[in-house]
Structures are given as C-alpha cells and as structure tokens.
C-alpha cells in the first residue's frame, strides 16, 4: 500500500491542469504519484488534507486524467485508489471525475 499526502509529498498549493504551465499541476501529481502504482496494480491512498485547497482543474487532471492516460476503467481505479479527506464533498468530486473520464472512454 502506497500512501501519498498531497500537502507533504507534492505541494500545499495545488493549482492548474498541465505541467507545462506550472510545477504544482494535476498532471504533474498524476505522473509522479498515480500512474506508476496504478499501472502495476498497487493500492494507493491519497490524503487530500493539509493543502490550501483545490481547484477543479487540478483534481480533474490528476484523477480523471489517470483514467485517460492509462485507459483504465473507473471500477479498476476505484478498487485501487483510496481518497482521504475531512471534506466528504471533495472525495465525491474526485470519484465523479474518475467515473466521468471512464464513461467518456467507453
């Protein structure tokens, strides 16, 4: 089981979608912490607490983006990925991005 804290392991200020536009992007987080483990079938727990907040671009590109980049089914991703947050709406939002991205692939 791999544990990742966005605040401690990546940035306290997550922002934006693409790596080309900044070092705290959703794409950067996805490539660094999500793609490898999910490709290998490893369980990952992502802790969203401790940052200043999240914009939808960051979250969509990190979590919806991993579905697109690896062409995975939502069920598979959700079986390996645990999202932790004191804000349940944030957890639901992430799950929604994963499901939507998977639906668009099929």
């Amino acid at each position: 089981m791999i544990m990742v804290s966005v605040a401690n392991n990546f940035t306290r200020f997550p922002s934006g979608r693409y790596k080309r536009n900044g070092e705290t992007s959703g794409e950067g987080f996805r490539e660094k912490f999500l793609e490898g483990p999910l490709q290998r079938g490893e369980h990952v727990t992502v802790d969203l607490d401790g940052t200043v907040g999240y914009g939808s671009s960051f979250l969509e590109e990190a979590f919806g983006g991993v579905v697109r980049s690896l062409r995975l089914k939502a069920d598979y991703v959700l079986s390996l990925l645990t999202i932790k947050s004191t804000d349940p709406e944030l957890v639901n939002e992430v799950r929604q991005y994963i499901v939507e991205a998977s639906e668009k692939l099929s």
Partner: protein
C-alpha cells in the same frame, strides 16, 4: 557592451526598520533595482492593496499571499475566510489566464509580456475582502470555442439574444459551469469562480472582459442575481473580481 555587462547602478541597502522596507517593496523599488526582497507588506499604514504576479500557474506565490491576508481577516473579523473555497476560485482564475488568455492573438497584435501573464490583488478594507485576478490576454470571447462545447455555445448564444458579445461569452462560461453539462473535462473553472461566493455565504463576483462586464451577486436568502453591462471601452484583457463582506469581531 550590453546592459548586462554594466555594473549594477543602484543597490538597496535594506533598512533595519520594517516599515520603510514594506514601503519600498509596496511601491516596487526592489523590482526596479533588481534587488531581492521576500518580505510581504502587511502594515495597515503601508498598504491596503497587496499584489503579486506570475507567468505560470504554480500555486506557491498566490497561495502564500492569500494565507497572509486570510490570517489578518481571521484575526480581525468574526466571519472567517474559508481558504479552501477562496483558493478554488483563485487558482482556477490564474490557470485560465495562463492556459487560455494568451492562446490567441489580441486584435491589436499584443502577444503578452514574457515574464508576466497574470496579476493578483487583494484588499481588506471597511469589512470587505476583495480579491482580483487580471490578465492582458485576448478575453473570454476569443477563447470560448476552446473551453466550451460548440453545441452549448450555439444554444446559449441563441438564448442570450442581442447584446454585448463579451458579456455573452462570460455568461456562457458561467452558465456552463453552473449547469454542469459535463460534455468535456475542461471548462469547469468558471463554476469555481462562483463557488467562492457560495461557500462564503454572500458576496459579489464581477467579470470584466474586453468590452463586457457581468456582475453576479449571491446571498443564501436570495440566491444568485446577475447584471450585464457594456463598458464603452475595450480594457484589452480580463479581470475576475470577488467582493466578500465580513462580519465584524
């Protein structure tokens, strides 16, 4: 011989007292001389407005400024500033400026500044927290076809009717975010601009883009209302502006 070969003509020797350092930072003297000063002005008698700027969407610079202002808000007012809500709108506005605002040329040929794509301003005054993100890009109307689905734009334009096309583009972006048609993974940032106000409980969002100006006001009791205006001039860029009233401590 180039300018970089010349000896640095002026070097600031930092005053030991904080206030003059804050003044010099606030008026941009360190930037002119090229000296480094990481201090963020915070004395009330030095600054109401605090500003920062950047060329990419990395969150550190605007995030640190926001944290400083929020700390002051939360120490002086009974109503706290919910950082995560404000960050959602701020980070998306900056991302939009970086990702979309300069993706097409402006009609006057201005392609943007190499080192600065966005500016951020915050103010805490008379019980109101104000925050704005600005860019000198091509505006909502020029990039709307990149950020929203074509079918949605066509339907929305028909419903909007005649009127300022910049207002139409702004309002389409807002409506797309609100209605959540989910036809594309992009274009959700405008929803985040509104969520700042909703999470706070009341306030106003103003968006000015080229010749159009939309205002969105919200309170929990009355919900959302909006107005549209033609500015009469072209501001050649976009300003996203939030005003959040704060209850006194």
């Amino acid at each position: 011989m180039t300018q970089s070969d010349l000896a640095k003509p002026i070097t600031i020797i930092d005053p030991r007292i904080r206030r003059p350092r804050e003044v010099m930072k606030q008026i941009g003297l360190y930037e002119i001389t090229g000296d480094r000063c990481d201090l963020i002005p915070e004395r009330k008698d030095v600054v109401y407005w605090r500003a920062t700027k950047g060329r990419d969407q990395s969150g550190g610079t605007p995030g640190q400024l926001l944290e400083v202002v929020a700390e002051r808000v939360n120490s002086e007012h009974a109503q706290q500033l919910e950082l995560s809500g404000v960050w959602r709108g701020l980070s998306e506005a900056v991302a939009n400026s970086v990702d979309h605002a300069y993706s097409k040329a402006r009609p006057d040929g201005f392609a943007g500044l190499p080192e600065t794509k966005w500016w951020m301003f915050t103010q805490l005054r008379d019980g109101v927290f104000t925050m704005a993100v600005c860019d000198l890009g091509c505006g909502y109307q020029a990039t709307i076809d990149e950020t929203l689905p074509e079918k949605f734009i066509a339907t929305f334009a028909e419903a909007f009717g005649l009127g300022n096309r910049d207002c139409m583009a702004i309002d389409a972006a807002m409506e797309y975010g609100r209605s959540g048609t989910k036809q594309d993974e992009r274009g959700k940032g405008s929803r985040d601009a509104r969520s700042v106000i909703e999470q706070h409980g009341s306030g106003e969002l103003w968006i000015l883009s080229n010749t159009g100006w939309m205002t969105y006001a919200y309170s929990r009791a009355e919900g959302w209302s909006n107005t549209r205006h033609a500015l009469g001039i072209d501001i050649k860029g976009t300003i996203v502006w939030w005003k959040l009233p704060l209850k006194e401590a």
